[in-house]
């Protein structure tokens, strides 16, 4: 007597038979027939041919039969829209039924029928149901609005359903509130700027009340909605936190994680010295630990989120290392995540324990896991200096096991340890060399070759070792080939006498017998360097290497902040910005953590995070792979300025090589040294022009005045025209030009990306080096569509000033790295300082007066601006547009004196006095406190007035 009988009819006339049964007079037979139809539907059989017959059964007072027919309708209405109209009458009638269950069922089903014609008829019944006396009907109707919106958004807006839905947030029944919130959130997703969920303290209060009484799912919706609210002050933030904390003890882990999200976000606003702040931190640990005792799938999602949380606030879980110890039966995806977090939590205090565990894992069965464990040991060594020695000896033990993949992984990480602690552990090189033959993976081979090349002077038979690799040069992967080339050149520079033949061999292999342009280019560069200036070659090839960062895979701080706002979502599982998860044109608002109370200015945020490694400067170097002596990238990237020993002139030279030299070289006869010289000579002529154009400020004054005269800018600050920052020939076809602007208090970087290459470019990303004012991208670079050849897109990148700070020379220099699917490119540009003038830069008159007097004379600078024909009022207005505020004005001896104040994003005030004589305004600049700001300000200010 089970339902499996429904599957058994597979005779020829199955559909025919069902048709007859559906039209039977007997109710029982009808129902059985509908059940058979449903059963066929569930396994994916097409029973749409029965549509009219099934719809005929809809008029019934038997609820089960009705439900079954509805199930059928939802599945097939779309394929038979004309037929579906037949059902409308019954729906409308059912929406008036006395039984709320039937009313709700009807409105629910109608919403699921995705046929345009039907939706027209749906509006009236839906309107009634939204105001139904029974909360069960209202809550069902709320969801129906979201369904309808999905089918026909315009209709929903025209009919005013959105307002009705907003009213439901104040409903007396918590379940209705929860569903209204859920529906609004879903609708809001497709209208990023519509402000549908207009949250204010009153609605927040209603939500918090409903939170306590609604179902677990409703709680998730409400908590997610709360997380998008920005409390007015720390007190409100605390009171919300207090009312949310009980959710941490909920049995449903999704509720717990959503509550964690709200708390992590609002905590940002609480002053750190508040007792409650500490209490809250303590309360967060146990629920996170509990999530790890749940089913493995839940554990996985929890671990991905914990990974974010420990990066943001390591103090929460710093004592909980042990819960991340890997258990034998954990699924592999849980094991790998746990390992990652263990390393993040590793510190001097627990390193012994961690190492013992890692060593244990290195003897497990699962190869992926073992590899990662070995790598983890290396990462510990780099992260916790005190443990380095122990890590190295552990790695040596592992190498002794002679397990092939363990040895290879160990060698890869030992290379990194050498990089981090030079001249400390080189005694182990001999042991490493013993394992040379067993290495069959490119990464391990490359690492070993790097070690041999780097320490060629200490390895007696370095030439033999490298020569043995050279035999199969063409069968090696590019990584190994490049590494071998570099290593042999290093060897040659260290022991020139014995290795001349070897180096010639490798250079000819790389330049003449290879089809790989990277390899060829590098080969030529070495060749030319060696043949023209061996001393320079030495300086370039054996240059001191930049330090490798402690943790290679830390998430970039702005992204981390955004992800913290999205705890519990897919974005948090993939550690990618939420915009990457939205289909098509739908945009997403970037969420930022709220600023901490009491700081007032966003500029304080660099200090806020100093407690943890989360604020560690983002690695200057994009990834470890590139690091490994990848000379091309390093030397040709002047902005990174990480190669201290290389003189600027050297860099220029290197750039020239690529810029002009190589092109002509490749075009002409390859390999001939005379043409090399020609290439070298020709290049510098071309380069300075393009370089000179880059800084917007340098050339600034003249051009900008011209421009300013024509374009009147009544409001808003001055925007310089775009200049080319990155030349296509230096960036494999990507040309970037851009400028900076300040719009509505937001700093923006306007970029034009042009694809001058032959292939499509995708996957754009941008990163800034540390700079004087902590400028950092506030969101990812939004290049949604791939950039096809010869296409140009304009993008506006909002910037924040909460990035890490480092003084640059000149002060307003900004070093930028842009990545696309082809490579990473570096360029530097200069921003006008007026970009940093904030809107609230108007100083109180009294304060101004007092401060003015206190400025020491040597902080004062004078600057002349010529050829300006403006009277003082117009000038003052123009300056105000750029946030330079006139505090006072007086007239002395026919000169207008304007006293002005400017505030920079980092809180520095600049005070100025401006003297205007007709036809020749004379600016006297005085700056408070930071002398070096002064020069830049003076340079920058002139365009602003014009």
């Amino acid at each position: 007597m089970t339902d499996s009988k429904y599957f058994t009819t597979t005779k020829k006339g199955e559909i025919f038979e069902l048709k007859a049964e559906l039209n039977s007079d007997k109710k029982e037979k009808k129902k059985e027939a509908v059940k058979k139809v449903i059963a066929s539907m569930t396994v994916g059989k097409d029973v749409s041919a029965l549509f009219p017959d099934v719809v005929n059964c809809m008029q019934t007072d038997n609820l089960e039969l009705k439900k079954l027919v509805y199930l059928y309708l939802m599945n097939y209405a779309k394929s038979q829209p004309d037929m579906a109209i037949m059902a409308v009458n019954t729906f409308v009638k059912d929406c008036e039924d006395l039984n709320p269950l039937i009313r709700a069922l009807a409105v629910r089903t109608m919403g699921c029928i995705r046929v345009d014609k039907i939706t027209e008829y749906l509006c009236e019944p839906l309107r009634k149901c939204l105001k139904d006396e029974d909360p069960y009907v209202r809550k069902t109707a709320a969801v129906c609005v979201a369904k309808l919106h999905d089918i026909n958004a315009q209709l929903v807006e025209d009919q005013g359903f959105l307002d009705t839905l907003k009213d439901l947030i104040s409903d007396s029944n918590p379940m209705v509130v929860a569903n209204a919130v859920a529906a609004l959130s879903e609708i809001a997703e497709s209208h990023p700027n519509s402000n549908l969920l207009d949250l204010n303290p009153q609605t927040i209060n209603k939500l918090l009340t409903a939170l306590n009484e609604c179902t677990e799912w409703g709680q998730i919706f409400i908590l997610d909605c709360l997380a998008s609210y920005l409390p007015r002050d720390d007190r409100e933030s605390q009171s919300i936190c207090e009312r949310v904390t009980p959710r941490l003890s909920h049995a449903n882990s999704a509720v717990v994680l959503s509550a964690v999200k709200v708390l992590m976000k609002f905590m940002e606003m609480l002053p750190k010295d508040l007792d409650y702040y500490g209490t809250l931190l303590k309360k967060l640990a146990p629920p996170l630990v509990t999530l790890l005792s749940a089913e493995p799938e839940l554990q996985y999602v929890a671990l991905r989120n914990i990974n974010l949380i420990v990066q943001k606030r390591p103090e929460i879980l710093k004592h909980e290392m042990k819960v991340f110890f890997v258990k034998y039966n954990d699924p592999i995806y849980v094991k790998l995540e746990k390992l990652d977090i263990m390393i993040r939590l590793a510190s001097q205090a627990n390193i012994a324990q961690v190492l013992a565990e890692l060593k244990e894992y290195a003897t497990e069965v699962d190869v992926d896991f073992v590899r990662k464990a070995v790598r983890a040991i290396g990462r510990c060594a780099i992260k916790v200096e005190q443990s380095a020695e122990r890590c190295v000896s552990t790695l040596l033990d592992l190498i002794q096991t002679k397990v092939n993949y363990v040895v290879q992984e160990a060698i890869v990480v030992i290379k990194d340890i050498f990089r981090k602690y030079p001249n400390k552990y080189e005694s182990v090189i001999a042991t490493l060399c013993e394992n040379l033959d067993s290495l069959d993976e490119p990464e391990a081979r490359a690492a070993m070759i790097w070690i041999v090349g780097e320490y060629a002077e200490r390895i007696d038979n370095a030439d033999e070792l490298l020569e043995s690799f050279l035999e199969g040069f063409h069968d090696e992967s590019t990584q190994v080939q490049l590494q071998l080339l570099t290593a042999i050149v290093k060897l040659f520079l260290k022991k020139p006498t014995e290795t001349q033949e070897l180096v010639q061999q490798v250079l000819s292999l790389a330049t003449q017998d290879s089809d790989n342009p990277d390899l060829r280019d590098r080969g030529y560069i070495y060749w030319r360097l060696l043949s023209t200036d061996p001393v320079a070659a030495k300086e370039v090839v054996l240059a001191e290497k930049p330090l490798i960062s402690e943790e290679t895979d830390l998430i970039e701080p702005t992204l981390l902040e955004e992800l913290i706002c999205h705890i519990g979502t897919l974005a948090s599982v993939y550690h990618k910005p939420p915009s990457a998860f939205v289909e098509g044109s739908r945009g997403v608002q970037h969420k930022r953590l709220p600023p901490r109370a009491g700081s007032g200015e966003s500029t304080e945020s660099p200090d806020v995070g100093q407690s943890g490694p989360s604020e560690a400067p983002p690695a200057v170097i994009p990834s470890q792979g590139d690091l490994l002596g990848d000379l091309l990238n390093l030397d040709l990237a002047p902005p990174t300025a990480t190669v201290p020993s290389v003189q600027p002139s050297m860099q220029m030279g290197a750039m020239d090589l690529l810029g002009g030299g190589l092109d002509s070289l490749l075009g002409g006869d390859i390999g001939g040294s005379p043409s090399m010289g020609a290439g070298l000579g020709a290049a510098p002529a071309a380069m300075p022009a393009s370089l000179g154009g880059a800084p917007a400020v340098g050339g600034g004054l003249g051009d900008l005045f011209d421009l300013g005269g024509g374009v009147g800018m009544p409001t808003g600050s001055y925007v310089a025209p775009k200049t080319v920052w990155l030349l296509a020939m230096k960036a494999k076809g990507l040309e970037i030009s851009g400028t900076f602007a300040r719009r509505g208090g937001i700093i923006q970087m306007d970029l034009s990306l042009t694809n001058k290459a032959m292939s499509v470019m995708t996957d754009f990303a941008i990163q800034f080096n540390r700079n004087s004012f902590g400028l950092a991208p506030a969101g990812p670079l939004q290049v949604l569509t791939p950039l096809s050849p010869n296409q140009t897109i304009d993008v506006s990148l909002p910037l924040s000033t909460s990035g890490p700070v480092m003084k640059m020379e000149p002060l307003n220099n900004l070093q930028v790295a842009v990545k696309n699917n082809i490579d990473v490119f570096y360029f530097s540009c200069q921003y006008p300082l007026s970009l940093l003038f904030v809107e609230d830069g108007k100083m109180d008159r009294q304060v101004f007066l007092a401060t003015w007097k206190d400025i020491p004379n040597d902080n004062e600078a004078q600057f002349q601006i010529k050829d300006i024909h403006l009277n003082s009022d117009v000038a003052s207005n123009k300056l105000q547009g750029s946030n330079i505020f006139t505090i006072a004005k007086r007239t002395v001896e026919g000169q207008d004196m304007l006293y002005q104040s400017v505030k920079l994003t980092n809180g520095i005030w600049v005070l100025a006095e401006m003297r205007i004589q007709t036809g020749n305004p004379n600016y006297t600049w005085m700056c408070w406190r930071r002398p070096h700001v002064r020069e830049c300000v003076s340079q920058n200010d002139s365009p602003v007035i014009s």
Binding site: D3, L71, R108, T215, W217, P331, V365
Partner: protein, 418 residues
């Protein structure tokens, strides 16, 4: 929200699909199958799988993959929790959650799924509300239904659906009023070679079976509530009372439910009931090895350790085991490479021992990985953390219920390294 659900068995057959919005072609599951193949073991399939336009979130329960499809940003935990709820509901309705029972009850399954989710939003997931909407199948009812033509679908709106206590229906009546609580504790532990505890914690739950008439209001108090600092409660528990008085006060759902779960991680509170002396070694030559395992009681609080089972995952090269057990039986499965030693009751006077030789694939090198021992055990009448229920009081109803509390301790993920 949740778009579609596919049920797939271990052999890779898709045997049920349900769509809550528009229909998504089942070919979307190819991405799942790809991941499934890559993972080798069904347990290792990653829970979140990405396809160009959708995300597949899946769980693996009772040899069935519950694969849900989502299209927009949805909290994955929300989806996973919901899938668990689906599996639990099937278990609850059909006694077991298996491909056969689901196929046997496909119409009820479909009705259930329709009730549980509307447009991807959870609608009714509480078992007692669902049971009012769709009655579970019983032999008697299906007989009656066939004869009388009545259905298993409830005709009225469930009373609990909208009350502030959605987990309990009104008008419950029992002739015997009873409330039973099971305190179940599982020890998760990792012991290293020398027997030192690397890591240990207790996962505890209190399962309840409450069959009381009317609207009883219960409160449960403990002798030592201080043990509990990390707890998760069933939604029926009043959190404020717990925070202020450390009393669990609640109006219970009807029938079986999990009242609370807790977590004790303070190492000094976790007693390890047994010790294991083991020596598993492989010889450099001769393709053989030795195994010697002895189990003895450690901190058992005077109770007997029962149902003791030792499982050893052997390296792949181990072909067979020739052992001698002083107590219980052993079995080595050469396919899964699992050695299972079922000991039974642990006798402190005569410690069980398993000893003998292992034979390896000839010519194979000595295995590199060290096998790991997993222990299963059970101790009746003891909560290893020492947690004790003090009293259970009932308010709001006049009758006198039967009350009972049972304690049991089990091994959870209890692992001994070699």
């Amino acid at each position: 929200m949740i778009h579609s659900l596919f049920l797939i068995n271990n052999a890779g057959d898709l045997f049920l699909e349900k769509h809550w919005k528009s229909v998504i072609s089942r070919s979307i599951c190819d991405y799942f199958f790809e991941a499934r193949e890559k993972a080798v073991e069904p347990d290792n399939v990653p829970p979140v799988i990405r396809s160009p336009h959708h995300y597949l979130i899946n769980i693996y329960r009772e040899k069935i993959f519950f694969v849900s499809v989502i299209q927009t940003e949805v909290p994955p935990l929300f989806v996973i929790e919901f899938l668990h709820r689906v599996a639990e509901t099937f278990q609850d309705y059909f006694g077991e959650c298996s491909e056969t029972t689901i196929k046997d009850n496909v119409v009820i399954v479909y009705e259930l799924l329709e009730e549980m989710l509307d447009n991807g939003f959870p609608l009714a997931t509480e078992s007692n509300i669902l049971k009012e909407l769709i009655r579970p199948p019983t032999i008697l009812r299906s007989m009656v239904n066939t004869i009388t033509g009545s259905s298993n679908v409830g005709e009225t709106l469930p009373t609990g659906q909208l009350s502030s206590i959605p987990w309990r229906r009104a008008g419950v009546k029992y002739t015997n009023n009873e409330a039973y609580f099971d305190v179940v504790e599982e020890i998760d532990a990792i012991l290293d070679k020398s027997g030192t505890t690397v890591f240990a914690e207790i996962q505890g739950v209190i399962d309840a079976c409450v069959k009381l008439s009317g609207m009883p209001d219960l409160s449960l108090s403990f002798m030592n509530p201080r043990l509990l600092d990390d707890v998760s409660f069933h939604p029926c528990v009043r959190y404020k009372r717990w925070e202020s008085e450390r009393v669990i006060s609640f109006i219970p759902p009807d029938g079986n439910f999990q009242l609370m779960s807790y977590h004790i991680s303070a190492q000094n509170l976790v007693a390890i009931p047994i010790y294991v002396k083991q020596n598993i070694s492989f010889f450099e030559t001769g393709s053989s090895g030795r195994l010697d395992i002895t189990v003895g009681p450690k901190q058992t609080m005077g109770k007997t350790v029962e149902c003791l089972v030792v499982t050893v995952h052997m390296p792949k090269v181990v072909l067979s085991a020739n052992l001698n057990a002083t107590q219980g039986t052993y079995n080595y499965d050469p396919v899964t490479k699992i050695l299972l030693w079922d000991i039974g009751k642990l006798n402190p006077q005569k410690l069980p021992n398993l000893k003998g030789s292992l034979s390896l694939q000839s010519g194979a090198p000595k295995p590199e990985e060290s096998p790991s021992l997993n222990i299963d055990l059970k101790i009746q009448q003891l909560a290893i953390s020492g947690l004790k229920v003090n009293r259970l009081d009932m308010y709001g109803e006049k009758y006198k219920p039967f009350k009972g509390v049972k304690y049991v301790t089990k091994a959870g993920k209890f692992q001994v390294r070699t």
